[in-house]
Amino acid sequence: MSGARLELAGLGKTFRGLRAVHDVSFAVPAGAIHALIGPNGAGKTTIFNMVAGVYAPTAGSVSLDGRVISGLRPDRVCAAGVGRTFQIVKPFKGLSVLENVTVGALHRRSAPADARKHAETILERLGLHDRRHQLAENLTLPDRKRLEVARALATEPKLLLLDEVMAGLRPTEVDVMVAFLRTLNAETGLTILLIEHVMRAVMALAAQVTVVSYGEKIAEGTPAEIARNQAVLDVYLGHEEPA
Amino acid sequence: MTQDFLLSLAQAITKGLLTGMVYGLMALGLSVIFGVMRVVNFAHGEMMVVGMYLAWAAFDYAGVNPLFSLPVIALLFFAMGYALQRGLIQPFINRPEHQQFLLLLAIATIVVNLCLALLGPDSRSIQLDSQFDSYELGPLVFDAVRVHAAVAAIAIATLLFLFFTRTRIGKAIRAAADNHMGALVVGLDVRRLYAITFGIGAACVGAAGALMITIIPVTPFLAAEYTLLAFVIVIVGGLGSMTGALMGGLLIGVSEAVAGLLGQPSLKSMFSFGLLIVVLLLRPQGLLGRKDSR
């Protein structure tokens, strides 16, 4: 497992005349952790969905290691090496935790026994192993978030898309998840793109941050630069007219 | 095409339009229930048949014209629908579709076979004094019973429309249909609204049954056919759309009458189901339905 370079070039999406995303470009080098932030309704999830193949962009393209993946079906995007989580978690409720992750693992390992073994190792890493026989619907929210990550990782992606996996976690749980992602990234070189509102996680993880507002990119830089950026502060704090 | 054929075609179409109004009222009941609760009433045709039998019994035993027994039947059906929803259906509201289907299938089986057990398989009809009366408009002749039934159906549909747009409860029901969570948040008693809705849906189909018996005889075996017919009408017109259900009813009524004129009874179902398939695929929200983001 190693990371892939992600590049978004002039990405745009219009829904029935409504402009949701306009001309967003940024690149994530292989093995980097990159954060995508912005106020609610800024178009972050729409951007994610274009990377993951849920929507085809109306303009621009997404490429992974130079290969265009935008416009492909989600399962083809997954095959190309993109794993994703959902903001509103979508576990296979009626299946056990282990079965959930095994479905992901089957993507690159066609033998069920092999896939199950792979799933077990991933569950162990995410601290879900002792809950592997529980039905997914009986998990607590933090565990469901972990399950989302585990299932995406099981597909052995080169790029991991994380849509607000920290939301709803307690600070200590955030720290555990941050530590996990950092180790994962360091050990495997997996590229990670995350949407996140929890700034402490963004600051701790991301090398670069892209900020979007009203569907457009308004800033990009290191977390420290972004924290000082006036345009970003305006968006988050509301623009104050000089008195 | 000869003058004669054109005239009989026009005659068939008007006849179809009149019957279609009653179909529309029947379908309206199904549409209201689904639109609000997202529960498909697989016992709809069975309820229709019960309505027909009640009106028949009132006429046969007490000589009451179905147009006058109709309000009583509608009230009775409202109470029955309300109780049915409260007692049996409410626990199934958030259950998987196949369980709802099985529940209503069981209810349908019991209802239709009770009719069979009590009244036997023979068809029952009523002979009104107005049976052979007719109104004339130019060269066209309208059966009086069909005209009365259609007028009554329109009147009931209008009342229903006013109920949903003008009354507090009607508006609350529409709010609950649009946004279940929101309705709960603003403190609407959603369970009660659902029970009222099912009652209204039942009252519609009971009233439609009382009207239908003036047009055609009833047998228990009509039930399944009516259930399917109501589905077709509602899907074609657009689930949850009141005018859609009425228009769908007219469309199916006319196509039946024209198929009858051409002497091809199988043509009528061919047309309905063909239309159903086309609409499902190309316009699943129905011809008049709203675009639904689900």
């Binding site: 095959a79 | 196949h98 299938l105 069981a106 009770l114 398939i277 695929l281």
Partner: protein, 323 residues
Amino acid sequence: MNVRAVAGLSILLALLLAAPLLLGGYWLSVLILVLYFAYVGQAWNIMMGFAGQLSLGHALYAGLGGYVAAGLYTHYGIGPWMGVFAAVGAAVAAGAIVGYLGFRFSLAGVYFALLTIAFGEFTRIGFDNWDWAGGSGGMFLKVERGVSDLANLRGGTVMFYYVILAMAAGAFLLCRYLLESRLGRYWLAIREDAEAAQAVGVPVLWCKMLAVTLSAALTALAGVWNAFYYNNLFPETAFAVGRSIEMTLSPIIGGLGTLFGPFVGAVVLTGLGELFTDLSDQFHVSGLKQIFYGLALLIIVMYRPAGIWPWIATRLGFEEKRK
């Protein structure tokens, strides 16, 4: 599977194999009904229980299968073991059309179910007016008494018993294999959440197509068996909505998505059906049997909505939860 399950299954299989020696004609025909419903239930369960696609039009596949095999036999003398390929081909084609249209236009739940009903009804009307198939008058197979000809599927009750037993056992083993396979896992994932499944690389449309065509193919076999067992076919019954609904009951009552559900459901429903027939025969009231039947369905769906088998299974200490 644990030792007790293997032992239980072996005893059950031995009893089923010996049944024609142990049982009289009446009970054997009841057992035939049980196995028939277990078999078609298993076939329907692949689509609904595994892949989560509600079909209320499976009579289409059984009817097509039966008509094709019976037609080839009566018109051209082509035996059912050859005809079955054509029968399965026809059903698979029909399943592919219904499935592709439904899935492509993303019809779900009740809407998809109505589409399957509409196709079934459409075909029924078509066969009503198709002379080759005998129209609404039906199609009849020549009955030869005292013949036992497995090659042409002409023979007595015992022969048909063993054929349907083999089919039911085969369908059970196939489903058991499928549930453990990658495809089976993918179906379950689609049933639970198609969008999440696609995000982990499941080719959703393709898997659904496999489910509907495989289910249609197996159902067509039941149609062929049915046609040769009863020797007649009418569009009115072969393609009836009631026939389709009948096929859904065993797995729903027994336990949707489980392996033993369809069999358990078939035992319970056929048993109740026979019991109620006996009961209502004493009262001479038409419809009484169906009223009892409806009440039984009502009670089961109210108190055991997940089906009877999962409940029995936990009680007996077998863990076959709905996967």
